[in-house]
């Protein structure tokens, strides 16, 4: 059964989209990432223009994250105070990101930037996570665990505006989560992702949050950042396809619930290891596309004549 997407202006198979939504939703529930870094490339792969894919995916992540946060809230795994501080930074960052995206779209470099962002950030995050989780798994197996300090003290613990985040058991400067939120917000808007794959490691390794609250808190702030991106993309670029978003989120919300339940069955370091492998896989695929000679060196882009 096929359906015509009004904004993407193409006909797609309903079941394919539902299946994609469900599969990515499952992974997003499992790992606590929005799943955008998988879905946006998938949408582009089936022929949807990058501009529509990025904007519509932000819309879909809103739904997936709400559903995920509800599940995590019931288990008291959300640090709302931390989430709100991250959200404030994320709001500012994603607004800047949409402006950058609109500008690059006009000069024809949006494709390149999106791809480069994917390769660089997925590459860094994936490698770090794989390394860390591999070490954790090895240490557990060999049984030579030496318990270190709760967290390390570095220069950023000297920053002002210290705030106590009770659920995260942290007493740190609010500037730190604000800055992280801002930076991840920019990338979220440009890459059409929620930013969970950046936010989760940043929370663990930079902020030193306990793993149990990281996923729920990350999803909590993703709701607001992607809602902001959706709104700004709709206003600036008219590229949010609600019909496509509805199809994707129907699959995704169901998948996310199943994924959240499944995540309880795996150890934290195993989850991170699997996520790392997936992140690196996407990174490698996009990286190869950047380096390999394209089939056609020329591409076209219509400036006028779309719309009504």
């Amino acid at each position: 059964m096929s359906i015509y997407l009004p904004i993407a202006e193409m006909s797609v198979d309903v079941f394919l989209i539902l299946l994609m939504g469900g599969g990515v939703g499952f992974l997003s529930g499992l790992f606590g990432v929005g799943g955008g870094f998988l879905m946006t490339p998938l949408l582009i792969f089936i022929g949807i223009s990058p501009a529509v894919a990025v904007a519509t995916e932000a819309n879909q992540i809103v739904a997936a994250s709400v559903s995920g946060v509800l599940a995590h809230t019931r288990r008291r795994n959300v640090d709302f105070k931390m989430g709100i501080v991250l959200t404030i930074g994320g709001f500012a960052g994603s607004s800047v990101g949409v402006v950058i995206f609109t500008f690059l779209r006009e000069i024809g470099q949006v494709d390149l930037l999106v791809r480069l962002c994917y390769v660089v950030f997925l590459g860094i995050v994936g490698s770090l996570m794989l390394f860390e989780s591999g070490r954790a798994i090895l240490r557990r197996q060999t049984g030579t665990a030496t318990r270190g300090k709760l967290h390390q003290h570095t220069w950023f613990h000297g920053l002002p505006f210290k705030v106590r985040f009770r659920r995260s058991r942290l007493y740190i400067s609010a500037l730190l989560p604000l800055g992280i939120g801002f930076f991840v917000g920019i990338l979220a808007a440009i890459m059409g992702v929620g930013g969970g794959f950046l936010m989760v490691p940043a929370m663990i390794y930079l902020l030193g949050m306990p793993t149990s609250v990281v996923v729920g808190t990350s999803l909590f702030q993703i709701i607001f950042v992607t809602a902001n991106v959706t709104f700004l993309q709709a206003v600036n670029n008219q590229t949010v396809d609600v019909v496509l978003a509805l199809l994707l989120l129907t699959g995704a919300v169901i998948g996310a619930q199943i994924g959240t339940k499944a995540s309880g069955k795996l150890r934290g370091e195993e989850l991170r290891g699997l996520l790392a492998l997936m992140v690196l896989g996407v990174c490698a695929k996009i990286g190869i596309e950047l380096v390999a000679k394209p089939d056609d060196l020329y591409s076209i882009n219509e400036i006028e004549g779309f719309g009504l």
Binding site: Y4, L70, R74, Y298
Partner: protein
């Protein structure tokens, strides 16, 4: 000209045939240039939820000898053609050329190979065949460069099925009545299309006739698009609300399970 009323479907062909027969009885000297009569099975293509492309029958009659060429063009738009080159190991868009007057959709059909029907110069001036579409470049490049960008524009459009790769066939029933099928893919641009038919003989254009074909979104598709473009902020808010409600609803449902 043909007397047949707008027909909504080509099942009405018998009616049209009668009209054609009537027309053919007009004395030849009255044919100022009425050597060609055409019509379309439909003059409106509505893009609705289930749209997967459309097929329109073009039919007509000629008076006198000759071949027939059919051109279908959607409204023109401005297109940027970009060329990648390798910078520090990765492929980057580096050169570009903008063209005006590029139809979003272009299809040609003929009763014989185009080069047998008309000489090069006439095909060029009438933009007959994908090689002769009158794109207007924005910048002056060397002839070779411009040619490469032009060819790339056509090639990319062909790849997405919007320009014909092979000319369609116009078939004659007898020596006077002809027909051809115009296939529009699911990704056709919207707008008022021009369907132009040429009657050619001995390398000359004897007569030409034009019909308008309207392609537009209807129903839900039209409403969503209109809403997205004309009330963008409200559209954005509603898109977010839908997502919030859907997410909450799914969470609620699964809590019960």
């Amino acid at each position: 000209m043909i007397a047949a009323s707008r027909t909504s479907s080509w099942f009405h062909i018998p009616v049209v045939m009668l009209a054609l027969v009537a027309m053919l009885q007009i004395p030849a000297d009255a044919a100022r240039n009425d050597a060609l009569a055409i019509d379309l099975s439909e003059d409106l293509i509505g893009i609705s939820t289930g749209f997967t492309g459309a097929s329109v029958l073009l039919f007509g009659a000629t008076e006198g000898e000759g071949g027939v060429i059919v051109l279908v063009r959607s409204p023109n738009s401005r297109v940027v053609v970009r060329r990648k080159s390798r910078v520090a190991g990765i492929w980057v868009n580096s050169d570009e050329l903008t063209f005006d007057d590029a139809p979003g959709f272009y299809h040609a059909a003929a009763s014989a190979p185009l080069e047998e029907l008309l000489p090069e110069d006439l095909r060029r001036t009438n933009q007959i065949g994908v090689d002769h579409i009158g794109f207007k470049p924005h910048a002056f490049l060397s002839a070779d460069e411009e040619k490469a960008f032009r060819a790339a524009l056509v090639r990319n459009k062909q790849r997405s099925g919007l320009y014909s790769t092979q000319n369609g066939r116009v078939t004659f029933q007898g020596s006077r009545l002809f027909r051809t099928r115009l296939e529009l893919p699911a990704n056709v641009p919207t707008g008022k299309y021009a369907v132009e038919v040429f009657l050619v003989n001995n390398g000359q254009i004897v007569d030409r006739s034009t019909r308008e074909l309207s392609v537009r979104k209807v129903g839900l598709e039209a409403k969503v698009t209109e809403f997205a473009f004309e009330q963008a902020p409200l559209y954005g808010i509603i898109a977010v609300l839908i997502a919030l409600i859907a997410g909450w609803f799914a969470g609620f449902v699964f809590r019960k399970v």
